[in-house]
């Protein structure tokens, strides 16, 4: 039932807005732009006029219990940002909207019904040389109430292990680069490995997130995306679980599969840094790279 409702939601209203639409709606009081960028200082250097900035590391995550932000804290954050239940929330951010997609996932799970993503994010906005503003907005407090309305959008380690053992079938989609998937490297270039095993979750299909976007950071068309996944055997008939290293690139693919294609998808935010380090769970490691403590 819930899946049907969400599918209808995805199909019935456009979850993507263009940079043109965003530019024209910067002064629209019913719209609240929220930037979720991961690089410190990006928001401060300049953002869409009137946009508030949410910090991913501290405001959308709980660094103490390695969890997503609690509903209480998220509600307070949203209210302070002037968000009510009837506000149109438009998310955007750096790095191809990775973390903005994480934001979308949290907003959707916590029951906000009118959340959109600016297609192309900061990348497209900057490519088009659109104006950036330095002032922090002053907004009256909102009244949004956060409740865990869609817990089924999140996969936990246990769900993934059950999928691997085929106790509760789900198609696993690894959105990392092929070198990470095949176990040649522990982590993407420039990042210290946070998992002591290289490789992937057994049986997972490697469909890198980068295949879902165009050069300007926008998503490919729904037809192209549908074909991309269908060619890898993901047709949306059953449950899908997306994962990457820390759950941010996988929320990008979660957005594609759930919000654009309307499939039944859960984002596994623990991702490889949890699964790859978990004791007693099997992995697949084609390259055979073994961690030697260096």
């Amino acid at each position: 039932m819930i899946h049907v409702a969400l599918m209808l939601m995805a199909a019935g209203q456009d979850v993507l807005v263009t940079t043109d639409w965003a530019y024209e709606n910067l002064r629209n009081e019913k719209v609240r732009f929220v930037e979720v960028s991961v690089d410190p200082g990006v928001y401060e250097k300049g953002h869409l006029k009137g946009a508030v900035g949410f910090k991913w590391h501290s405001e959308l995550c709980d660094p103490v219990s390695r969890d997503i932000v609690s509903p209480e804290k998220f509600q307070a954050l949203c209210r302070e940002a002037g968000i009510s239940d009837d506000t149109t929330v438009v998310l955007y951010g750096d790095l191809n909207n990775w973390f903005a997609c994480w934001g979308h996932w949290i907003f959707t799970m916590y029951g906000h019904r009118n959340v959109k993503l600016m297609n192309g994010g900061r990348k497209k906005w900057e490519l088009e040389k659109r104006p950036l503003d330095l002032t922090a907005p002053k907004v009256p407090a909102g009244t949004f109430t956060a409740k865990v309305t869609h817990p089924e959008l999140r996969a936990r380690l246990n769900d993934v292990v059950k999928a691997v053992k085929n106790e509760s079938p789900a198609a696993l989609v690894d959105v990392r680069s092929p070198d990470e998937h095949n176990g040649k490297v522990f982590a993407p270039p420039g990042i210290q490995e946070l998992s002591i095993r290289a490789g992937c979750i057994p049986g997972s299909k490697n469909i890198p997130w980068s295949k879902t976007v165009n050069e300007d950071g926008t998503f490919k068309s729904a037809e192209e995306l549908k074909k991309l996944y269908a060619d890898a055997g993901i047709d949306g008939k059953g449950t899908i679980i997306t994962y990457c290293r820390i759950g941010e690139r996988s929320s990008h693919s979660w957005f594609v599969l759930k919000m654009i294609l309307g499939y039944d998808v859960r984002n596994y935010d623990g991702s490889w840094t949890e699964y790859g380090n978990a004791v007693g769970v099997p992995i697949e490691n084609k390259a055979g790279t073994v961690w030697t403590g260096k």
Binding site: P40, G41, V42, E44, L134, T135, A136, K138, G190, Q192
Partner: protein
């Protein structure tokens, strides 16, 4: 005539190379060139600010630093007020680093080093543009200094840096309180200079027209005030003034290749400042900034007729090398030098900038005593 031709060539290189850079990098190239030219024109030497004050009671350079800090503090506060209403969250890109004994030790080493070497890191960079042959020795000396500091860093981090607090004055005093306190302290120091310092000798001056401005040195306080504005602009672009990030980065890469630097330097990537974050990019904004700094100083020295190959006595080179090691060591553990930690730290209202500066004064005083013994 040759020097005007050379100046035109330097300007052309700066402009043409900027055409190939993105907006932000080109902006930092311009900032670097302006910074180099301002240092050169106004003889705003951080070493002189302390050494000449202690030895000759010459207060001119010290006034320049105070002017830079006062103007930059107001500028930073203006930017903060726009971006961070209420001062509840710390600004992400400003140089706010832990205030503790390590930055004090770094300041002490740096202060001693700059007096021995006859200039700090930015001072040696602008003297390089004036044709000094001593400056490259001091700058090369920084590299083993960096290696020494890298090899001790993990111990420093575990024992002190990781637990030392980041103290951002506006968080405790509000913007008005922080600005009032900081301008009060700077004003107090200025008054002390008026009271204790010697009046500057009046140089024979050409009229203050274009020709005069090209030939005569500018007052240090004017150069300082302009640097305060430049610092504000650079911060607005998310990159506070700093000169040691690139030297640290290259030292780290070279040291790692030689096996002298630990593979993992704890906490460094999370600390703001000129923190020698390992990146294998060929060209960074910091790198462009210091190259342009040297070019800006060269351009300004050529136009004013002050460029000449300057050779030092053997003793000067030895002192420059030894001082350079202390400069590199101090800059690494303080996450910046007189620019990245003193200027950008104090302008950002960070206590660590003040601690560094107090230690810098102590180190510089030790340096003057050491030189007196050696003489």
């Amino acid at each position: 005539m040759i020097r005007y031709g050379a100046a035109a060539a330097v300007a052309a290189v700066l402009i043409v190379s900027s055409l190939f850079l993105d907006n932000a990098t080109a902006f930092f190239a311009a900032c670097g060139a302006a910074f180099g030219a301002l240092l050169q024109r106004s003889r705003l030497c951080f070493t002189a600010a302390f050494r000449d004050l202690f030895v000759l009671r010459d207060r001119r350079a010290a006034f320049g630093i105070l002017a830079a800090l006062a103007v930059g503090s107001v500028g930073y506060a203006a930017v903060y007020g726009l971006q961070l209403p209420g001062a509840r969250y710390l600004p992400d890109t400003a140089h706010l680093s832990p205030a503790g004994p390590v930055v004090f030790l770094g300041g002490l080493a740096f202060g001693l080093g700059m007096v021995l070497a006859g200039g700090c890191i930015s001072g040696n960079l602008y003297r390089l543009g004036e044709g000094s042959l001593v400056a490259p020795v001091a700058l090369a000396g920084c590299i083993p200094g960096y290696w020494l500091a890298f090899s001790l860093w993990n111990w420093f981090y575990a024992t002190s840096v990781s637990t030392a607090p980041v103290v951002w004055l506006p968080k405790h005093l509000g913007y008005t309180g922080a600005v009032a306190l900081q301008l009060g302290v700077l004003g107090g120091l200025g008054a002390l200079l008026f009271w204790k310092g010697a009046a500057a000798p009046q140089p024979a001056r050409e009229p203050l027209d274009l020709k005069g401005a090209l030939r005569e040195p500018w007052p240090a306080w004017a150069g300082g005030a302009a640097i305060g504005m430049l610092a504000t602009l650079a911060y607005l672009w998310g990159h506070p003034l700093g000169v040691t990030a690139e030297i640290g980065r290259l030292s780290r890469l070279a040291g790692a290749a030689l096996g002298l630097v630990p593979a993992r330097l704890e906490g460094l990537h999370r600390l703001p400042g000129c923190s020698a974050i390992g990146s294998d990019r060929r060209l960074t904004e910091s790198g462009v900034f210091i190259l342009s700094l040297v070019a800006g100083s060269l351009l300004s020295a050529l136009l004013s007729g002050e460029f000449r190959i300057r050779v030092g006595k053997p003793r000067t080179y030895a002192l420059a090398a030894a001082g350079g090691v202390l400069l590199g060591f101090g800059a690494m553990i303080s996450l910046g030098c007189t620019v990245g930690t003193m200027l950008s730290g104090i302008m950002a209202f960070s206590l660590h900038g003040w601690i560094f500066t107090a230690a810098l004064a102590g180190g510089a005083w030790l340096g003057t005593q050491a030189l007196r013994r050696l003489a």
